[in-house]
């Protein structure tokens, strides 16, 4: 183990971490909306809405993220009418392809997390809200959503960590995120052990931050105080 060598390459890896954080945060941000949207569809009484949401989550959770990102990046790039459409402005760039793949993927998992959170809401609470004269919109945004969000915190924290690690696949579509730069350094120095230990430590540090952030939120919004 060569500590000097590790420190020498640390700055480049830290710089690349910026892209990893960006990809994680943007995907999670869009993913929350996608997740809530499909969770609502899932609880809908309309059979079509229900099945759209059901199969979206079924397919996206049932296939590897690597396959999804390859289909979006290399797959759609082969289709001529897509290349000639306005979509190409967006799909031409590896960055937006990665965000799209990650968003759809985390959206599917989040929709399941939010759905189960909605389902655990006590019927009495909803009835009480209706009894107080709140309309449907108010009941949803003021009562159901906050409870569901609190309920889904532990599971969603896990999803954030999974997404953070999932962004390492961005390196497969030419993006130089933390993993991408690590591989790049290895390809010129031929020393995978040291470089991956440093990269792994940076990932660990980030999961540590996410883990504690969720723990803090759980405590702050605990039902017990």
């Amino acid at each position: 183990m060569d500590l000097d060598f590790m420190f020498e390459h640390l700055p480049r890896l830290i710089k690349a971490t910026k892209l990893t954080i960006q990809l994680t945060l943007l995907s999670l941000f869009f993913g929350i909306f996608v997740g809530i949207f499909f969770a609502i569809l899932r609880t809908s009484k309309n059979k079509i809405f229900y099945y759209i949401s059901y199969y979206y989550s079924y397919i996206l959770r049932g296939t590897p993220l690597l396959v999804q990102i390859f289909i979006i990046y290399f797959g759609l790039g082969q289709v001529e009418w897509i290349r000639e459409s306005f979509l190409w402005i967006f799909l031409k760039e590896p960055y937006s392809c990665a965000i799209l793949a990650f968003t759809l993927n985390t959206g599917a998992y989040s929709s399941e997390i939010f759905r189960s959170a909605f389902e655990t809401i006590n019927k009495g609470v909803v009835e009480a809200a209706e009894g107080l004269g709140l309309n449907k919109m108010h009941t949803f945004f003021k009562i159901k959503l906050p409870i569901a969000i609190r309920q889904s915190l532990p599971a969603y924290g896990n999803e954030m960590i999974l997404m953070l690690k999932g962004t390492s696949l961005a390196s497969t579509v030419t993006l130089l995120d933390l993993t991408g730069v690590a591989k790049h350094i290895i390809s010129t120095t031929f020393r995978p052990v040291e470089v991956f230990i440093v990269a792994g430590s940076i990932y660990l540090l980030m999961t540590f931050v996410i883990h504690n952030f969720i723990k803090f939120l759980e405590k702050k919004y605990s039902f017990n105080n």
């Binding site: 290399f74 790039g77 082969q78 290349r83 031409k92 590896p94 497969t172 030419t174 591989k183 790049h184 290895i186 390809s187 010129t188 031929f190 020393r191 995978p192």
Partner: protein, 276 residues
Amino acid sequence: MKNIFKFFLSSFAALMIFFSSAQAESIRIGTEGAYPPWNAKDESGKLIGFEVELANFLCIYMKADCTIVEQDWDGMIPGLIMRKYDAIMAGMSITDERMKTINFSQGYADEVASLAVMKGSSLEGMDTPKAINLSKGGGDVKKALKTLTAALAGKTIGVQTATIHQNFLESGDVGQVKVRTYKTQDEVNLDLAAGRIDAALAAAVAFTDYAEKSGKAVVLVGPTFSGGAFGNGVGVGIRKDDTALLKKFNAAINQARKSGKISELAIKWFGFDASM
């Protein structure tokens, strides 16, 4: 009783002789299997290509028992050092940078690099010589690099990661181009055809092979490159401490060259004699 004992003893001796004669030296050779026509895989997943066939002949000359091992390109040299295999035959050019870490046998084939674009690109028809050798330098090379620098300014160029082609583009010889790196040459070809990159740099034969098989309008532009960052031909990569194996490979390559085997295989796979 005695006879039975004799029978066992003699059969045991026979077995010993059989094993000792069958036990040729075993050598594992690492290749990528994704850089046609140098090395590739057929539909059934079997390794094929110029280097796969050449490796088999070299092993016959060395009287060695060889297995060819597949390894992703970006882990090729680490894999050799970690003893996953004993030699690399993967279209790997002999460069000073790699020589810091591993040894190379004498070159067995010349890899000529070239830029490629899709037909209709603005990069077509660059006014450069047909071929430049960066080691030679001189006015012609300087002029060609200047033309290339001007033509490639602001363009995105795709290369396979950890290759001489990436090193060349990042060396500053053609200014500050945007380099996009891919895990395999296949992916470079896909993105070139999709129009995500303006040009790509690799072995000229890698592009002609792709154009032929895919029917895509990929064309070579500019000069072909050799020397300098492009190294001095393709050789067998061997661990620094493995000098005995290095000698064996050098002798086998000599023999293959003399017998015309390298030329024959090169013509078969590249369409021209790339042997050296």
